[in-house]
């Protein structure tokens, strides 16, 4: 069943891709092939393979139950927040928070998670910024 849905979604992507390709504005100075042809070939391959997947599906994978699924969504949200907050609050704080969260969700105790998170953050900061001189996001406190 998963593969049938996947195939249909793939087909929709292919159709969308083909429309987006047709919408490309051609400039008056174009080569013989133009910017549309190759994307259209790709859309065709994408569509054909999607149809084939939908018609001959493999056995469904074991999807996680709702709880686990929420877990992954939550991790994605934390990572997005991390990406957005990084330039605002600085590397060390942002990384410590994100690493603490991930460690905690992977099964460490609360105190151990905080310590691991702090250790990860400070460790990466020390190795990559202080030793190797990589520029990391700066927060209001300068780190």
């Amino acid at each position: 069943m998963s593969d049938r849905i996947f195939g249909v979604v793939g087909l929709l992507i292919a159709i969308g891709f083909a429309f987006a390709a047709l919408a490309i504005e051609e400039s008056f100075l174009s080569d013989a092939v133009g910017p549309k042809a190759f994307p259209l070939i790709i859309a065709a391959v994408l569509g054909l393979s999607s149809i084939s997947i939908a018609l001959k599906p493999d056995a469904s994978p074991t999807w996680p139950d709702l709880g686990r699924f929420v877990e992954i969504v939550a991790a994605v949200v934390v990572m997005v927040l991390y990406a957005e907050l990084l330039p605002v609050i600085g590397f060390v704080f942002a990384t410590a928070l994100a690493a603490t969260y991930l460690t905690w969700r992977l099964g460490s105790g609360p105190i151990a998670s905080v310590l691991t998170g702090l250790g990860t953050s400070v460790g990466i900061y020390a190795v990559f910024h202080l030793v190797l001189g990589l520029s990391l996001a700066r927060g209001p406190l300068g780190f």
Partner: protein, 513 residues
Amino acid sequence: MDTLMSLADGFAIALTWHNLMLALLGCFLGTIMGALPGLGPSNGVAILIPLAFTLGLGATPSLILLTSVYYGAMYGGRISSILLNIPGDEPAMMTCLDGYPMAKKGMAGQALSLSGVASFVGAFFATWGLIFLAPQLVKIALLFGPAEYFALFALAFMTLGGVSSTNQAKSAFAAALGLGLAMIGVDTQTGVPRFTFGEVHLYDGLDFLVAIVGLFALSEVFIFLEHRHGNADGNAEKIRVGRLTPPLSMLKETTPTMARSTVLGFLAGVLPGAGASLGSFISYSFEKRLVDKDGKTFGKGDPRGVAAPEAGNNAAAGGALVPMLALGVPGSGTTAVLLAVLLSLNITPGPLLFSQNPDVVWGLIAALFIANIMLLAMNIPMIGLFTRVLMVPPRILMPIVAMVSFVGIYGISGSSFDLLVMIGFGVMGWVLRKLDVPLVPIILGTLLGNSMENNLRRAISIDNGDWFTLIDSPLSITLWLIAIIGFILPLIIGRKVKAKMHGPRDEEGSIAD
């Protein structure tokens, strides 16, 4: 003689303190990454590329660092296969079959050191193979025009599907998806924006490093979260290493095995679309059929069953570098990642690489020899340290992997937008892995998409818009024929082989070498 002279020059480049330290660091990190279940050569190299890049290392030093990681991971994968019966990466899968039974018999140390020697033999002779075969391939490749290149790229994608997935349609889907992603950005020939939807960040196209790190490294983090798999697989009591040197009789017994497996593994590596996993699989099954016809000893701790896959996968790792360097078309996941390294350093691999950047090629080859010797020297005495690394639980390791990925990508561009794109790729990688869609063709597509299109357009423009120019020369017809056979053959006979090969692996469809 020319070759040997160039090789000597290569050693002159590689043998500086700076480069030796990088090689040592790479070998060490690589072995650890290979040994840890969940981190294989492709994600290991993927995480480190942005770092090597932002640290401002030159082309040769970065390549030395990253290929040492590549070879190191090939060595390291066997450690957890033998001690825990869990392959550290996919090529090490076959090593479990005889390595773990040997360890149970109390011969873990011997299995480890024997496989270390086998890895060395495989990689050493494969590097020689690379030296002699790559220049020959370059000679052929110099005859290629744009139409032939287009056919060659098509061949790479069509044959890749044969081994990397159990479902041909899914590999085709993955390849098309990757190519489609490569189309995003301003068209290089006419200057019109494509698929950017008005987003300024997309005008430059997607950075393939962002795609690679997201697809490989972040998706792994999601897999671990999904299973809440936070504890180490190993525990201290289970790992008893024992005597660390293989007896001479065992080495003698396994020498012919290593020789045969090296040749087979190398050939498997050179073939487009086949990586180290296939190398170790072919070597093991061939050896089993040859020396153990009745199935008496293989699978029960036969030293030859340890030597064969290890020599095979390391030889294949060397062999896979041949098409990558000589043609610019990688045959496996990790070499695709190495191609990304070259491209981000503004070096275009392919036949011209050998004449325009001989220092890079030969410095790299010399580095392979050096890394190989370092790995052998490192692996036997330091096995105790590496087994201890196996006890680092994923709940600590995986956040570090995620954070280092973020650091690397942020270091390149300094923009949150790229981080968001990377997270998107991570989620996509997780979903696609659940659906058993191979990730390697996606990477290959994003890497090669633009040059594939450029070759197509160049070929047709040269011939004033005649599309039949694509099948106009005997060379391109041959390439198309191989491509079609490579695509169809696995449909007919591939199912059986693949079912066998993918049998023992985990259900998430880990990343092919």
